[in-house]
Symmetry: C2
C-alpha cells in the first residue's frame, strides 16, 4: 500500500523472512535485540487474518521470543501488537531486563534510568541463527 511505512521494506535489518512475514531488528539503541515481526501483506488487525494466518504469524512471534530467551536470557519478554500509528499488522518482541531504561514499566512508559543493556557484538548474527534453526532457513511459500 502506498505511503505505508511497513509495506516499504527498504532500510530494514531483516534477520529472518519468508513469503508471509519477516523478523527485523528495531532501531532502538536502548534495546538491543528488540525484534519486530511484520506481516508482509497490508492487513490491520489479527482478526482480519484467517485462523491459519493467525497461527502462522504467532508461530514466528513465539520463535522470536524463544530466540531472545536463548541468546539473551532476559528477565522477561514483552509482546505487543499495537498499530495505532502504522495500521499494518506487526508485533513488537522486546527483551526486558530489570536494569533496562524503563523496567518494570512498558518501554512506552516513563523512563526510569539510563542504563542501556550491554549486548555482545555478534548479537544480531546469533539471533538470526537461532531464528533460522527454530523456523527453518528456506523461504516458505503460501
Amino acid at each position: 500500500m502506498a505511503d505505508c511505512l511497513l509495506c516499504d521494506v527498504r532500510g530494514e535489518a531483516v534477520l529472518w523472512q519468508n513469503a508471509f512475514c519477516r523478523v527485523t531488528l528495531a532501531d532502538e539503541p536502548d534495546y538491543p535485540g528488540f525484534l519486530r515481526v511484520i506481516l508482509n501483506a497490508h492487513v490491520k488487525d489479527m482478526t482480519d487474518l484467517p485462523a491459519s494466518g493467525q497461527g502462522k504469524l504467532m508461530r514466528v512471534v513465539l520463535a522470536a521470543e524463544a530466540a531472545l530467551r536463548e541468546v539473551m536470557a532476559p528477565d522477561k519478554v514483552n509482546l505487543a501488537s499495537l498499530g495505532n500509528v502504522v495500521p499494518h499488522l506487526h508485533w513488537h518482541v522486546i527483551p526486558r531486563f530489570a536494569d533496562d531504561p524503563h523496567f518494570p514499566h512498558p518501554v512506552w512508559g516513563a523512563r526510569q534510568r539510563d542504563t542501556p543493556h550491554a549486548a555482545p557484538s555478534d548479537l544480531d548474527e546469533r539471533l538470526a541463527a537461532a531464528l533460522s534453526r527454530l523456523l527453518g532457513c528456506a523461504p516458505e511459500t503460501e
Copy 2:
C-alpha cells in the same frame, strides 16, 4: 502461587472463563471494554507453554479482540503480554479510539487529552454475550 495478584481471582469482573483461562474486565475508567485474558496457571512467558497451550490462549485472546470489534467498533485493538510487574501470563486486549486519552500512543505512554470514551451502560453484558457465542458457554476441561 502465594502473593501473586493474578493467582488470586477475588474481586475480578469475569466475563468468560474455562478451566484454562479467564477473560476479565480491567478496572480502567479511561478505557471501558479494556479486557484481560489471564491464564489460570502461574506461568511466566508464552514460550513456557506447550504449543497446544499457546494456541488455546491465543484463541481466547483473539476472541476477545473479535468481541470488542463487534460490540464497540474501535479504530484499533491493541494486544500486549508484558508481565514485568506481575510475571503471571496475561494479555491486555484494549479497544482504542482516535479520541481516547492516549491515542495514537500506547495506553502506557504520555496522556494526550481528557476524553474518556462513552460506552453503553450494557457494555459488559454485550461483551460477555459475544465471548460466550464466540468461545462457547460450557467450561472446557483440559
